[in-house]
Amino acid sequence: MRKELSALSSITRNRLLRSFALGAGIAVGVFALRTLAARAQEPSPSAAAVAPAVTEPAAPAATTSTAPVAAPAAAATPRPPDPTGAITGTAADVPVKDPANPTVTEVMETVGHNKISINIVWTLLAGFLVMFMQTGFAMVETGFTRAKNAAHTFSMNYMVYPIGMFGYWVCGFAMQMGGVGAVAALGGTAPLNSELVINLFGHPFGIMGTKGFFMGSDVYDVGVYALFLFQMVFMDTAVTIPTGAMAERWKWSSFLCFGFFMSMFVYPLFGNWVWGGGWLSQLGAQFGLGHGHVDFAGSSVVHMVGGMAALAGAMVLGPRIGKYTKDGKPVAMPGHHIPMALVGTLILAFGWFGFNPGSTLAGTDLRIAVVATNTMLAGTGGAITSMIYMMWRFGKPDPSMMANGMLAGLVAITAPCAFVTASVSMLIGAISGVLVCVAVFFIEGTLKVDDPVGAISVHGVNGAWGVLSLGLFADGKYGDGWNGVPGTVTGLFYGDARQFFAQCIGTLTCAAFVFTSFYLFFKLVDVVIGNRVSAEVELAGLDLPEMGALAYPEFEIATSTGGGGALPAPTPMPAPAAAPAQAKG
């Protein structure tokens, strides 16, 4: 035994020695190379003399092309390293024909180009942040559902991203933004100039855009591409909302149909009416209702649309087996992974810094500072009041409601974030935190609609509250010229009742149009292929029968749902042979 040990340790010692020798060898080699390279770079007098001779004849030729060129002066004397950044980016970086006599036009062109560059980079970066919110949604929804459905719930949230994007690329973007006209912040997306308009009561009503299908060559423009990316991730955020309300019982095939239907038709239509130059945005210009329906970053366009689709879907699907006792009392079905859900919530809160500030589409619009700060304040307000409310009602804070509370605050501030002050943001968020708790109990206890993650309350109810709160609290400091109406956006409490009226019309339109569309859609799907898995599959968990993969195959999953004995006896997992047949049915 002792001998074995010493043999082992001698092997270990040898290995250590060898690794050390190798490491030391590499270090010496790297040092030698660096020394050599540094010596080679030292400016020799002959090299400095040659440099101007090479660059000067090339400069005039380059400036005749449209591409921005490096100023010849920059190459003349190599700049020393600039550790503070104070001398990087100078007049030498502005492309002009004659560095001695730059014209105002040349300088203005560079300034304009830089402005749009900042805007497009800002819009893209914000879009990347919003894309990451898909992860947040997946984690929140999976954490709040049961382990036996975890692969199914996460897969829906995952697959909605490519499906939604595909549909949006085919026709969604064209229908939403095809007639938006020139988006000045992105350099004037000129190709998006075709809106289908009908005339009613002597006023034009924009219904949908008709340009940009498949992002074809007619919209091959950097501004349009940036706009597509940004609008695409917003659309995907909306489409992923109903997966939470309909989780744990939704058939995969029905989910696929839904993903295409929403990303190709319903979302783009309502989006066009508010953001694409459609009729809701023109309520101000055409009917004198403030600035028309104003929704800065999508409380209605994204969240309420998602929440209304979730409501229709959850109503048609019906509650999960065991959700209600015989006398109609809701039964708790605790989610299986609270830390996952809370991480998801924080990821969403992080992504919201892209969602709201990015919606300026302009990094040069410094209102982004106000927008970003308002956004975080409202989320905080919602989290705190929902926690206090739950502690007051039930004695304990309930992590799932604290998460819903923060999201509710973020959803509500999404529309008014650019138009209100910090303290009003905190107030809007604080109201959402209580509103979301009350809404969860109302929807679950009174309406008897089973929403495992609270998506309807968070996104539907607070989306509506968000656009209405804009109509109440907009302080008249921002939004000059919004939707083509001169003057700033002003709410009821600051003197413009008509703005609030426009917000009400927008909210009612969203509720009626989206709910009706999806109610009919899900009823139709119910007849054709069915929305819901069989009771057998639901009790076993959807992971194997629907997806063919368990989320946690190494762990034995307790079949208890914490349902307090109200549940039917758990049935064994269906035999593997039966699974594919069910998945097809």
Binding site: K329, P330, V331, A332, M333, P334, R393, F394, K396, D398, S400, M401, C437, V440, F441, E444, G445, G454, S560, G562, G563, G564, G565
Partner: protein, 112 residues
């Protein structure tokens, strides 16, 4: 030979294990189990709906041992697993007919 089955609170497992080792027990098997006795369950709320936690998590320790060690082992468990409140668990002692060590084929007390 006897078989001991002790149902204890999960957090006392380490202390019980050490105490049993100290009185000379060289092997044991444990299980995470759920159940209820006089402690009963408790009611919690999740998203405003009440639910009962009826089966509480416990650890079941199984030990096979020679007759003369039973008292010392039971004492060791009592000393380390007792909090004095409902839910401390129980120790079941039962007769054991035969023990076989699979590696060597030894039987009876030699296999313990």
């Amino acid at each position: 030979m006897k078989k001991l089955e002790a149902i204890v609170r999960p957090h006392v497992l380490d202390a019980v294990k050490t105490a049993l080792q100290e009185v000379g027990i060289v092997g044991m098997t444990i299980n995470e189990v759920k159940g209820f006795g006089r402690q009963k369950g408790h009611t919690e709320t999740y998203r405003g709906s009440e639910y009962k936690v009826e089966f509480l998590p416990k650890i079941k320790i199984e030990v096979a041992l020679a007759d003369e060690m039973v008292d010392a082992a039971v004492d060791a468990i009592l000393k380390t697993a007792k909090t004095g409140k409902f839910g401390d668990g129980k120790v079941f002692v039962s007769a054991l007919d035969q023990v076989v060590r699979i590696r060597t084929g030894e039987r009876g007390e030699a296999a313990l």
